[in-house]
């Protein structure tokens, strides 16, 4: 079972923002935002042709500034949000805005990769998320499975819930909350839980993880000192409602059950430098992807704490019954958590990794030098999980 070789794509600029085109479920498409202080920044729409192993790209100009974070609407393929730096009078402010890409690029195009760069198109600004009162935007997250009308942005110590109205041309601040405490509190990252009817958001600031209820904008749980150092990223298990993963500067990846915040369920220590990104696979939550500034991407199989701890045994409709037998069966059939693969195609720090929204066995990773690598889950494991 030969595994396909990774596909590498090089951007001309430094880059640290990567997202799959979330609303697209057929074609494999990623969006990458560049970071350049001197030239116009770009958003590369990267189409991956799975059958021929070919990458097609389209470039959109993003002239307002360098992109620190990018996220795509889960409902509309053409809509995306970026956090970008705006420099004015030697002051740097990170702003956020919602954009629409030209219609013809929404579903990709099959232009040859050479000629598109000359005729780069620009994004259409839908609305700014006004943050003059709140400070630097760290990230923007969309309500998962929603209609693309609700987003949350994190600005310094504020968590802001926006309603996008009039076909996203207007962003109205629906509610907000802020962290109070000693020192300068600053959110680093946040994710919106797909469970509980999308009413929960988790955020990271310093070494703490917090859960928020979006209806009341109040804190529902708090994991103090989740990591020894700064928490860089977190992600929700898409299939188990109380589970989330976090990673940080202590080189660790920790898995939490939010019902018991005193101790992580599991801790991984495979990286040797800061872990910048952690992502659960959207369908098979035992597959966990992490990217780190040790230039490595690690794919782990966390089967023992996944929703399928004994492999694919049961049909979807009797999963709930299974819950009772779980503990007994665990003793019978212990499955090993392990590192599936370490990908070393990057030569610089990897700041972003993510799974494709269309193909659950495919993921992309992006390093600072602008190298995007598309890899697949090893075939042997894929068949092992499926069969």
């Amino acid at each position: 079972m030969e595994d396909d070789a990774p596909v590498i794509y090089g951007l001309e600029f430094q880059a640290r923002a990567l997202t799959p085109q979330t609303a697209e479920t057929d074609a494999i498409r990623f969006l990458v935002g560049t970071q350049s202080l001197k030239y116009d920044n770009q958003i590369h729409i990267i189409d991956f042709d799975d059958e021929n192993n070919i990458i097609n790209k389209n470039v959109l100009l993003h002239q307002v500034g360098e992109i620190w974070h990018i996220s795509a609407s889960p409902a509309d393929r053409g809509v995306l949000a970026t956090c970008y730096n705006r420099t004015s009078d030697s002051k740097v402010l990170t702003c956020a805005a919602v954009w629409r890409m030209p219609k013809e690029l929404e579903s990709g195009s099959h232009e040859s990769p050479d000629d598109s760069s000359s005729t780069a198109q620009t994004l259409e600004l839908l609305c700014h998320l006004d943050n003059t009162a709140h400070g630097n935007m760290a990230c923007v997250v969309w309500e998962p499975m929603g209609d693309g009308k609700k987003i949350i942005s994190l600005a310094d110590n504020h968590i802001l819930l926006w309603d996008l109205q009039e076909s996203s041309s207007q962003a109205v601040l629906a509610s907000s909350a802020s962290l109070e405490g000693k020192g300068q509190l600053k959110f680093t990252s946040g994710r919106w839980s797909p469970h509980h009817n999308c009413t929960q958001v988790a955020t990271a600031n310093d070494t703490t993880l917090r859960g928020w209820d979006t209806r009341s904008m109040s804190q529902i749980y708090c994991i103090e000192n989740a990591h020894g150092q700064l928490v860089r990223d977190l992600d929700f298990n898409p299939n188990k409602q109380y589970y989330l993963a976090s990673c940080g500067d202590d080189c660790k990846v920790k898995f939490w059950d939010t019902r018991n915040v005193t101790e992580p369920v599991k801790t991984l220590e495979e990286h040797s430098h800061w872990v910048w990104n952690v992502r659960y696979n959207h369908s098979h939550d035992q597959l966990v992807l992490t990217g780190s500034s040790d230039s490595r991407v690690i794919l782990s199989n966390m089967v023992s704490i996944s929703s399928e701890p004994f492999g694919h045994l049961v049909d979807d409709d009797d999963i709930s019954d299974q819950e009772d037998h779980r503990s007994e069966e665990k003793s019978k059939e212990p499955l090993q958590d392990n590192v599936i693969a370490t990908y070393e195609e990057h030569e610089d720090s990897v700041y972003a990794v993510d799974w494709s929204s269309a193909d659950p066995w495919l993921f992309a990773s992006l390093s600072y030098d602008g190298r995007l690598v598309i890899n697949r889950v090893p075939r042997a494991l894929k068949y092992h999980i499926l069969l």
Binding site: F13, Y39, H273
Partner: protein, 733 residues
């Protein structure tokens, strides 16, 4: 045959689609591993024979696909295995089948099935023929090969027969030759035996004269060896008069020999090795070991006591004692060396004595050793007043080192332990001595201060100010402390043989030096100061307030800074000795002048910073191109390689990770022009000082280059500072 089963969509064709499978079966049989149905049984009565044959082929096919008979039949879609009308079933009965067909089918269908059957039988036949034709050549060649093999084997058989007869002949000859030679062989053996016996006898007869000669010549060793060789034989044959005579002669001579040896042994003057030889010979002559042992030790005692006496004489009250180093030297070479020799010889000679002998020796060594130690201690006690630690430490080192050899020989006597104990005691006493010295110094300082304060002021000439006095006191105390620490530190020097003893590794440093000496001194200082305060001027000599003021200030200073400084100093010297415990490790390309090498290694990043603005507007690729080219030529750094346990490796790891962290932090910022320049200066400064801590300074350069390059990228207005300016700034620090 049931029509339903013929049209069954099930893929398991052997069971459910018998007719359609026939053609395939033949093909499978042709291709399969067993070409079973031979060409011989070609069908004569197609209706009758074919099903039989087919069943056979069908069975093989099932075998080929790994299906058991039952399994194949067990499929739900398959027909009943016992059905006699199943053409492919095991229980197929042609009669029943025909009967069933005739009864159930209309004529047209009967005709159809008949033609169908005939057609398929023909096809089978032709397939079989093809098979035979195809394999005909192979059969022919196989037959040829077999025939040829038969011929060859016949020839080989003949040759084997010839070989067997030849071998028989050879065996026969060989047996005859041995028989012929047998006789002579025996005779030769006998003669040789007689010869050897005669030689032995000759030796015996010559023995007395030889022994006499040996004794005359003084070759005692040779004589004893002869005696030893002959004794057993003489003992055995003493009933024969001639042997008896020889034995008597020998005994007389041996007795004389023993006499002489004893004589020599008692004279004793001829040194330990010769004595040992005498004892060895006497033992070989069968003298009683017990007695010899006693005598040997008595002699040794005499010699060693002489050594001790001479040492004691040196120690004596009147004559100027030689310095302690010389004393321990002499003791080491004289007494300890002698003891070593005695012990070694004793253990070699009286090894047969077992534990009792060893115990005797140990007791001997213990007794003499304790006397020696008493002498050494007396001598060391004389040293106690002296101030020079280095001589004392060297003497102790010599003393301790000398005693390690007998220590190994005489583990039971516990000499090494006793020696270590003495060294420890001395070290402890030295610590006490230093503490006394420090106290005295402190009191001396105070007296000076008092005097200075009490000195009558000469008009117009201001006495020394209080601040000055305070500074004097503080510095003089500090220098005394430092001197004491340095002196005491000699005890833990690496090359001193006892420094690796547990006492000197742990207790001496923590309890002795830190607690006992330094903390003890500080305590006594406090006490002294306290006593000044407490004693109201009842004896008339009231404490001058200025002195109290000065003392209070001194104590305050000590509380805020000095104590922690002194303790840190002590800890550094005595406790935290990573560098001593861990080896240096290998350092690559260690160039002391690399600190002078300022910006040469920086050129790449500097050039990039400088050229980027001029090159890039035309092509936005260039920054990346440049850094990529730069990366091409520099090896990839593995920032997180595992660390070995030595100083350099650990430091290298720490520095690499720190620089990587710096890099990541730089990348998260946006720099103004001056921010970039600050990073430049910082990196240059780090470059000047970090190289000496790492295994490969190239690493530091590469990482720092990357930091500067990243900072340049993160700066919208990258105007790097002139290298010469950077240098000047860094060198000023």
């Amino acid at each position: 045959m049931a029509p339903g089963s013929a049209s069954s969509p099930s893929p398991s064709f052997p069971a459910s689609r018998p007719w359609a499978a026939v053609g395939t079966m033949a093909a499978a049989a042709a291709a399969g591993p067993s070409p079973g149905s031979g060409p011989g049984d070609s069908p004569e009565g197609p209706e009758g024979e074919a099903p039989e044959r087919r069943r056979k082929a069908h069975g093989m096919l099932k075998l080929y696909y790994g299906l058991s008979e039952g399994e194949a039949a067990g499929r739900p879609a398959g027909p009943d295995p016992l059905d006699p009308t199943d053409l492919n079933g095991a229980h197929f009965d042609p009669e029943v089948y025909l009967d069933k067909l005739r009864r159930e089918c209309p004529l047209a269908q009967l005709m159809d099935s008949e033609t169908d059957m005939v057609r398929q039988i023909r096809a089978l036949d032709s397939d079989m023929q093809t098979l035979v034709y195809e394999n005909y050549n192979k059969f022919i060649s196989a037959t040829d090969t077999i025939r040829k093999m038969k011929n060859d084997f016949r020839k080989m058989e003949d040759e084997m027969d010839r070989l067997a007869t030849n071998m028989a002949v050879i065996t026969d000859f060989s047996a005859r030759i041995s028989a012929t030679l047998q006789d002579r062989h025996e005779r030769i053996t006998k003669l040789a035996g007689v010869h050897a016996l005669l030689r032995k006898l000759q030796f015996l007869f010559e023995l007395p004269s030889r022994l006499t000669k040996c004794v005359e010549l003084g070759a005692y060793g040779q004589a004893v060896r002869y005696q030893g060789r002959a004794q057993a034989v003489l003992q055995q044959y003493q009933h024969l008069p001639s042997f008896r005579a020889i034995q008597d002669d020998c005994q007389v001579i041996t007795a004389r020999l023993a006499q002489q040896l004893r004589q020599r042994f008692r004279e004793g003057g001829s040194g330990a090795p010769e004595q040992a030889e005498c004892v060895e010979l006497l033992l070989a002559l069968g003298e009683p070991a017990e007695e010899l042992c006693e005598e040997f030790l008595a002699h040794a005692r005499g010699r060693l006591e002489k050594e001790l006496r001479s040492l004691e004489a040196e120690l004596g009250p009147s004559p100027p004692a030689p310095d302690v180093l010389e004393f321990t030297d002499r003791g080491g070479s004289g007494f300890v060396g002698g003891l070593c020799q005695v012990a070694a010889a004793y253990q070699e000679l009286f090894a047969a004595q077992g534990p009792a002998g060893a115990e005797k020796l140990a007791a001997f060594a213990r007794e003499l050793g304790s006397r020696y130690f008493a002498l050494v201690e007396r001598r060391l006690a004389q040293e106690q007043g002296g101030g020079d630690n280095s001589l004392l430490v060297r003497a102790l080192d010599r003393f301790h080192r000398r005693l390690r050899a007998p220590g190994a020989l005489l583990a039971a006597a516990g000499l090494a332990d006793a020696a270590t104990e003495i060294v420890e005691r001395v070290a402890r006493e030295r610590l006490g001595h230093h503490l006394q010295g420090l106290r005295a110094a402190f009191l001396g300082c105070l007296t000076d201060v008092r005097q200075a304060l009490a000195a009558p002021r000469v008009a117009g000439k201001e006495g020394p100010g209080l601040a000055e006095l305070l500074a004097n006191v503080a510095s003089s105390i500090l220098s005394h402390i430092k001197a004491s620490l340095a002196a005491v530190h000699l005890f833990t020097a690496k090359e001193v043989s006892f420094s690796n003893k547990p006492y000197f590794r742990g207790e001496f440093c923590s309890e002795g030096v830190r607690e006992g000496l330094i903390v003890g001194f500080i305590r006594s200082m406090c006490q002294t100061a306290q006593s000044f305060c407490d004693s109201p001027g009842e004896k008339g000599g009231a404490t001058p307030p200025a002195l109290l003021l000065l003392l209070s200030r001194l104590c305050l200073d000590y509380e805020t800074a000095t104590i922690s400084y002194i303790l840190t100093l002590t800890d550094e010297q005595f406790l935290v000795q990573v560098g001593l415990l861990y080896e240096e490790g290998v350092r690559k390309a260690q160039s002391s002048d690399s600190s002078k090498r300022t910006f040469s290694v920086y050129s790449s990043s500097r050039q990039q910073g400088r050229y980027a603005p001029s090159y890039t507007p035309s092509a936005p690729m260039d920054t990346n191109l440049l850094s990529n080219i730069q990366k091409l030529f520099s090896e990839r750094i593995d920032v997180f390689s595992p660390v070995e346990f030595n100083k350099v490796s650990v430091l290298t790891g720490i520095i690499k990770i720190s620089l990587k962290t710096l890099l990541e932090c730089v990348r998260l910022r946006t720099f103004g022009r001056f921010g970039l320049q600050q990073v430049q200066v910082d990196c240059h400064f780090l470059q000047l000082y970090l190289w000496r801590f790492v295994a490969d300074e190239e690493l530091v350069h590469l990482l720092l280059d990357e930091v500067v390059a990243s900072a340049a990228l993160r700066c919208p207005d990258p105007v790097p500072m002139e290298p010469s300016v950077v240098e000047v700034i860094c060198e000023r620090g």
